[in-house]
């Protein structure tokens, strides 16, 4: 399936991930956690299919079990004692629940980052930071180009060395020494050619005034609507939290307020932005197809 959120302007998608990941780090309230978990899960599956499904499930179960047992083993706060450990310390319900909540927070952030890795590709990152930090962005682009180049170069060096040497390299020490030799050839070749590249770039007018970078991103009407949508939802969330008490307290007893419906709606709208966008675009497409 085609992902339409991948096509929106990099600034919009970056702000979306910043907001969603930043907020997910703060939320300990089970409703918000549920919203974030469901949306991030659905979106990651939309982006990477069964691979994401497998990864999410395996990772989630391991982390959940690990944290839910580790936390009550070390943390003995809470009023509801389930049983006593061998060391004489109590194993409390609150502590176990808190372990689950905090492991969910970590899981959600990790799933969001798996979506971030698909959407915010390196060209978008360069576009976003190229104007603020031109030198670092140059380094960034050069490195991305150098990595595949160096892999090819190493292959070439190995082939050349094979031609020169009459016998096969045997023994661990010899192999290590051989590897070192290849790396040192690699280093001098790369350093020398990089300096040449920089001289060539300079000769062609790199860094002169009035030069611009090519990019293919344009803010469209849809991007403005998306920005507006996110601003509305984030302000709904923040302002409702200022007025209505929706705290979630776990110690000494679990006390959760479940009445901030506006806040839930706002967070739902924010987290589901890419999913809703995809649904909308699909419906639009089907509508146009049906009209033909």
């Amino acid at each position: 399936m085609k992902d339409h959120f991948n096509e929106v302007h990099p600034i919009i998608s970056f702000i979306y991930f910043l907001a969603v990941i930043g907020l997910s780090m703060f939320m300990q309230h089970p409703i918000y956690l549920a919203i974030a978990l469901i949306s991030s899960f659905i979106y990651s599956v939309m982006l990477s299919g069964t691979k994401a499904l497998k990864f999410n499930l395996i990772y989630m179960v391991i982390l959940l079990v690990f944290m839910a047992t580790i936390n009550p083993l070390f943390n003995h706060e809470g009023a509801t004692i389930l049983f006593y450990l061998k060391s004489g310390n109590p194993f409390t319900l609150e502590s176990a629940v808190y372990g689950i909540i905090s492991s969910l927070m970590i899981i959600i952030v990790i799933i969001w980052f798996s979506c971030y890795n698909v959407i915010m590709s390196s060209d978008k990152t360069i576009y976003l930071f190229g104007r603020i930090t031109p030198n670092l962005s140059l380094i960034f682009t050069m490195v991305l180009r150098f990595v595949p180049l160096y892999k090819k170069r190493i292959e070439k060096i190995i082939m050349a060395q094979k031609c020169i040497e009459s016998t096969e390299v045997k023994g661990y020490i010899n192999k290590l020494k051989h590897g070192t030799k290849i790396l040192s050839i690699m280093t001098s070749w790369s350093l020398e050619s990089a300096i040449e590249t920089s001289d060539s770039m300079k000769a062609r007018g790199f860094g002169l005034k009035g030069r611009t970078a090519f990019s293919n991103f344009k803010m469209t009407g849809r991007d403005y609507y998306l920005a507006l949508w996110m601003v509305i939802n984030i302000s709904l969330l923040i302002f409702s939290r200022l007025h209505i008490n929706d705290s979630a307290i776990f110690f000494p007893v679990i006390k959760i307020n479940l009445t901030n419906y506006t806040g839930y709606l706002g967070f739902f709208g924010l987290c589901f932005t890419p999913i809703l966008l995809n649904m909308m675009e699909t419906l639009k497409w089907q509508y146009y197809v049906s009209k033909i």
Partner: protein, 235 residues
């Protein structure tokens, strides 16, 4: 704003304000968010100074090559977990090119290699840990000219200590910070203890790499620096 005022501003004003904000506004619970912010503040001046200095294109290239070698090295050994040459290359770079470039090369290696390995909440911590190792390696460099006689044993020892204590120490604290509620020393120690075999593996790998590649690489970098007159990098 020069470097000293910027550093003073960050250390004396920005970091305390953030900590107070964490204690009073966020109820002293969001260690993760606050620690992340503080690490970002420490990364910032290096990046800003690098931009402001307006380095020569040749210097930028030299830094890019070192980062690329570190990133390519990390992906070349993808099948051996923890057995990575990144720290070794960062130490060599810091040693040859000075503290500031060392920090930059370390931090950027962490950042860019995670485009191949996956970004996550750990990226900032890795960037800081690699950067710090490179920065400290730069302090060992005493002369601006050739590093003719390299003390290989000392370099290997530094590699081991830096990987085990600095990298392991910084990166392993991240999961316990993230669990939010009151920091629990026992739980944190449990994480550290369970990470010991991995850190040990990583440290030994760094030592082995340093032992074999330090001398030839330092020689090559110095040769390039003399040939093209890149002495601006050292301060």
């Amino acid at each position: 704003m020069n470097r000293k005022t910027l550093n003073a501003f960050i250390i004396l004003i920005l970091i305390p304000i953030t900590m107070l904000f964490g204690i009073y506004v966020l109820d002293d619970r969001k260690y993760y968010f606050i620690s992340m912010l503080i690490i970002l503040y420490t990364l910032l001046p290096f990046f800003l100074m690098f931009e402001k200095k307006g380095p020569k294109l040749r210097e930028v290239m030299l830094i890019a090559v070192m980062i690329a070698l570190a990133v390519a090295g990390r992906s070349a050994f993808f099948m051996l977990p923890q057995f990575k040459p990144v720290v070794a290359i960062v130490i060599i770079s810091g040693f040859c090119l000075g503290s500031q470039s060392g920090f930059l090369i370390g931090a950027m290696s962490g950042f860019i290699s995670n485009f191949f390995f996956g970004q996550g909440p750990w990226t900032v911590y890795q960037m800081f840990a690699f950067g710090l190792i490179g920065f400290l390696a730069g302090l060992f460099k005493n002369s601006k000219t050739l590093n003719t006689n390299i003390n290989k044993k000392a370099l290997c020892l530094y590699g081991f200590i830096a990987t085990f204590f600095i990298y392991g120490g910084i990166v392993n604290i991240q999961p316990s910070l993230m669990s939010g509620h009151v920091m629990n020393w026992k739980a944190t120690m449990a994480v550290y203890v369970s990470a010991v075999p991995f850190d040990l593996m990583h440290s030994i790998a760094t030592m082995i790499f340093l032992y074999f590649i330090a001398e030839p690489m330092i020689e090559k970098i110095d040769r390039i620096r003399i040939k093209y007159g890149l002495n601006g990098l050292s301060h």
